[in-house]
């Protein structure tokens, strides 16, 4: 606890602003908080130390590698695995309550598994692709998440799964021999991590909970596109999938566990808005409409696992959208939550009337911007206000490149938007100053 705070507490107690008991309670609170902070610091330093130690050992071995016999190299190859398992077992038996020990040793074991397999592959010239190595690493590491248990390893497994899907899913030169193979494996891995995620929700790990939300949200956005087969006959469904995912994220961000968190602790909400607004703005241009070929037949599309994923995502989004409306018996006035539905309906029904659809999307993005602007003014929140202005500005900026609109109109839009930034921000700041002055009087 800082000296300034101690002095302030003494003064407040002397002046009878707070009682002695309250001062003691405040002191106790800050002392406990500091211990928690130093515990976290120990944990982070322990994890970093484990990573550096592991990397250093590997580098030293690599330097002298060629001079060793094959047998010696083979024995050395098993040391990372043996060391990791020994340390992890020690943590489980003697350091059970010590998160620093548990997480550090779990990480050593995680990398030890990979180091052993990699070293053997080098010694015996085993070529095998990176994707199969990643998959083996993931499945050998999953038990670590639950046995230790380790949240850092859980995050690392999710990162590996994302990497695996990027390698296999975005390789369009690979034959679609097993369509959906990478999708099924990714979903299996994510499902395997769900129980751990729920223990984080229920128990102590708020930091780990937020980190998992961030990594999962980013992972889902990255991998979704990789599940689109190279021979897919429809160009709209992948976009509907992304809009649905954005919609699901937006609804998830409104959940009781997250809605009151700071925006940077709510990755679903933070990522949902740029995803959906970005897609809507992209589809205000003629080029995506021009590229849409005649969609494949429904029966052909149902031969791809990705089609089922689109249906699942859209269904989940609709469920999350409609459920609170039924529960509260009123419709929503939030245009962002309706964006995915609007996008799906317009792209499917207005495929041959793209000008109308583009107009609708332009209007919708403007509405989103104005709603946030208004909300910012009502709540006296600069962040929300500026977010609304940013959305409008984004729309104006892209229209700058729209040669269908004259220079005069584009110039006017720019001036209005720029002026809007100044005017609305000044308005809020002035209002705040007035409020402060009124309170002082």
């Amino acid at each position: 606890m800082s000296k300034q705070l101690i002095r302030d507490l003494d003064e407040l107690t002397r002046r009878n602003v707070i009682s002695t008991e309250t001062a003691v309670a405040i002191t106790k609170y800050y002392d406990e908080k500091r211990q928690g902070d130093s515990g976290r610091l120990t944990l982070i330093l322990g994890i970093l130390g484990a990573l550096l130690l592991g990397s250093g050992i590997i580098l030293i071995l690599a330097h002298n590698w060629d001079d060793l016999s094959k047998t010696t190299r083979t024995i050395i190859a098993f040391i990372p695995l043996l060391g990791g398992q020994t340390l992890s077992l020690y943590s489980l038996m003697r350091q059970k309550g010590n998160r620093g020990w548990i997480e550090s040793t779990a990480i050593v074991l995680f990398f030890g598994v990979a180091a052993t397999i990699s070293l053997l592959a080098q010694i015996y010239q085993i070529s095998g692709g990176l994707p199969s190595f990643l998959l083996t690493w993931i499945f050998l590491s999953l038990p670590i998440v639950y046995i230790m248990p380790s949240s850092v390893v859980s995050l690392l497994v999710l990162v590996l799964a994302t990497w695996y899907v990027i390698l296999t899913g975005y390789d369009y030169s690979a034959a679609d021999k097993y369509p959906g193979a990478s999708l099924y494996r990714y979903l299996l891995i994510v499902l395997a991590l769900v129980p751990h995620y729920f223990t984080l929700l229920r128990s102590r790990g708020r930091n780990a909970f937020h980190w998992h939300n961030w990594v999962f949200a980013c992972s889902a956005l990255i991998v979704l596109g990789s599940f689109v087969p190279s021979s897919y006959g429809n160009e709209i469904l992948p976009w509907i999938a992304y809009m649905s995912l954005g919609g699901i994220f937006y609804m998830a961000g409104k959940h009781a566990l997250l809605k009151d968190e700071h925006l940077f602790l709510n990755p679903f909400r933070l990522l949902a808005l740029p995803t959906m607004v970005g897609i809507l703005i992209f589809w205000t241009f003629p080029s995506p409409w021009d590229r849409i070929s005649t969609p494949a037949r429904f029966s052909d599309l149902m031969g791809f696992p990705f089609s089922y994923l689109v249906i699942l995502l859209f269904g989940a989004y609709l469920f999350l959208l409609v459920r609170p409306m039924i529960k509260n018996r009123r419709s929503t006035n939030d245009p962002v939550s309706l964006s995915s539905l609007l996008f799906a309906v317009c792209t499917v029904t207005l495929m041959n009337l793209s000008n109308v659809a583009m107009l609708v999307f332009n209007f919708w993005v403007l509405v989103i911007g104005i709603v946030y602007l208004r909300r910012g003014i009502e709540k006296d929140h600069l962040g929300i206000l500026n977010l609304g202005l940013l959305v409008i500005a984004a729309l104006v900026i892209v229209r700058f490149f729209d040669t269908g609109i004259s220079f005069l109109w584009r110039g006017l839009f720019f001036i209005l938007t720029g002026a809007g930034f100044f005017v609305f921000n000044l308005m809020i700041i002035k209002n705040r100053k007035k409020k402060i002055q009124t309170v002082d009087r």
């Binding site: 690599a62 398992q85 489980l92 053997l120 010239q125 085993i126 038990p143």
Partner: protein, 185 residues
């Protein structure tokens, strides 16, 4: 510590040992029981030479033309047997979709593309499972330079591979009969 957790840890540890030990066992079996063949390697692609630890190998023998009525699909795993030709080098003799019943000297390869040609012949490009040769970081670029500068050795560079029941172990890359590591200054 709860007994259940200890038991789960033991099971996990056993699984984590099983994978590398299986790799080791399968490789040493091939080295002990396998037949060594020499496969001519083509020029190494300098653009892909070294992303950290290995050199890429390409094999002209991966392009073959066979008299066969069978159709092969891209990405299909097939089994190749080998014939020894001039200078002790080997080349693919037959391709089949199942392991040969009367031989243990065959290699599992992947069809990259297949196209039907005239007179019932099929042109195939296959991928050997050993296109990367691991070398110590600083050595591989030097090895590649030696190879490129020694144009006379262009047709005397080969990979020595042990094959056994579909599996293989790349034992070394040789330039004019000398291991490539020994050519380095």
């Amino acid at each position: 510590m709860k007994k259940f957790v200890l038991l789960a840890f033991i099971v996990m540890a056993v699984a984590q040992w099983t994978v590398p030990l299986t790799m080791l066992w399968s490789r040493t079996t091939v080295l002990k029981k396998g037949t060594k063949i020499k496969l001519r390697t083509g020029p190494v692609d300098p653009a892909d030479i070294f992303k950290g630890r290995y050199i890429y190998l390409s094999f002209p023998g991966e392009n073959i033309s066979l008299k066969t009525v069978k159709e092969y699909e891209n990405g299909q795993e097939v089994f190749a047997t080998f014939d020894t030709i001039s200078n002790g080098y080997s080349k693919i003799n037959t391709i089949s979709s199942r392991p040969p019943a009367n031989s243990q000297v065959y290699l599992k390869v992947k069809v990259v593309y297949a196209s039907k040609g005239p007179a019932g012949r099929t042109s195939l490009k296959v991928d050997y499972p050993f296109d990367q040769y691991y070398m110590e970081e600083s050595k591989a670029p030097k090895a590649e330079r030696i190879y490129r500068d020694s144009a006379a050795f262009a047709d005397k560079t080969y990979a020595l591979v042990s094959i056994y029941r579909g599996e293989s172990v790349l034992e070394g890359v040789y330039v004019n009969g000398i291991r490539i590591e020994e050519l380095l200054p």
